[in-house]
Amino acid sequence: MTSMRCADVREVAPDVALGLLTGEERAAALAHLEGCEACRAEVASLAGTADEVLLAAPGAEPPAGFADRVLARLAAERAGGDELPIVPAAPDAPGRRSRRLPLLGLAAAAVVLVIAGVVAVVRSGDEPAATTATAEMRTGRGTVVGVATVTGGEPTTVEVAVPGWQETLEQWDAGHADTYWLAVETRDGTRTMQVADPDIEEWTMRVDAPAAEVSTVSVLDDAGRVWCSGRFAT
């Protein structure tokens, strides 16, 4: 894969924002974005504009009774019960607007999520310098699918284990996304991302911040969908 420089990525930034890149070019751009905050900001800015373009779509009068039919469907969905997924605010991600990717089905999207309860914060008695905290990785339905562990040290590391990740991908998203990401946020809002190798189910990521500053960790795809996420206690 040919590597891309900032100038190359700036050239194709609108294409990335519009989800127009494919194949190696897209992979190369995403690989650059992973490590370049300035280019990520450029793409995010253009993606925001692309979102706004939708407001320029022409309005049209729907058929009579449209609103009533929508409301009836919603009432039926609500009566259906307990399947209400809780979906998180999908974090920014390079290529989050990859519109060539089909949306996941509703059930799959329900896998999406955020929020995670903190399991424990443990300070190792033997190694007082190494702060370790764990958080459950949860899906949109609140299902615990794995665990994240942050360990203090030089550098701070975050380990994420999602047993069954391979199976999940095969079931829900096979072939839909080219790249999955680990995203770690610290309490000052800084986000660090790295590609999550799709062929394994445990990833380790180095973070340039004290362990106590790590607030959340998420697994997301290159359309910005959060598959699971864990939140560490303050």
């Binding site: 519009l18 925001g48 407001l55 022409p58 009068e61 409301l71 605010a89 999908a90």
Partner: protein, 183 residues
């Protein structure tokens, strides 16, 4: 309810408040249905798409993040994705890019909408119309209707590189203009 913001109405819609839900659907239905129709080009299919988009928006309401944009832009993004899925499953009709619509600079039918929301949409529409027509049409074909630059190139018999350049110029110009207006 017309003086209530889109975001506040949407919060009611998400929580199942019947009055808010009805008001929200009636507020957004022309835009949602209009975009669906622009993409799928069939009234019956457009209704299916628009309904599905609104149901998805309700299901995934918690994924809306006001820091990243308006409810309307988010909802239209969902609508566009549902419509594109639909088009992929049915096969897209061959049409020229000139048929890709952008709302008229003044939309006489868009009455009763909340003022701030209209201001957002009006601003984008005005800026879109300020672009050179070839750039506007190329950007609308890609960003609104979901064509690839290759598809635009083939339909319009324009070199692919030219289409890519037009789209890039248009999006950058729009972004810069919108930023300038905000500041």
């Amino acid at each position: 309810m017309w003086d209530v913001s889109d975001e506040a109405l949407f919060a009611g819609y998400a929580s199942g408040d019947a009055e808010a839900a009805a008001a929200f659907v009636r507020r957004v239905e022309r835009k949602v249905y209009g975009l669906a129709l622009a993409i799928v080009r069939d009234a019956s299919d457009a209704e299916d798409v628009a309904q599905e988009a609104l149901v998805r928006a309700w299901r995934f309401a918690a994924s809306f993040d006001a820091r990243r944009g308006s409810v309307m832009a988010w909802l239209l993004g969902i609508t566009r994705n549902v419509a594109l899925d639909h088009v992929r499953s049915r096969g897209r009709r061959e049409e020229t890019v000139g048929a890709v619509p952008v709302a008229p600079a003044v939309d006489p039918l868009d009455v009763g909408a909340e003022i701030d929301r209209r201001a957002d949409a009006d601003r984008v529409i005005t800026l879109m119309h300020a672009l050179p027509a070839p750039q506007r049409e190329a950007l609308a074909a890609v960003a609104l209707v979901g064509l690839t630059t290759r598809e635009v190139s083939e339909r319009e018999a324009i070199p692919h590189g030219t289409v890519k350049t037009r789209v890039r110029l248009a999006l950058r110009k729009l972004r810069d203009e919108m930023g300038a207006r905000v500041e």
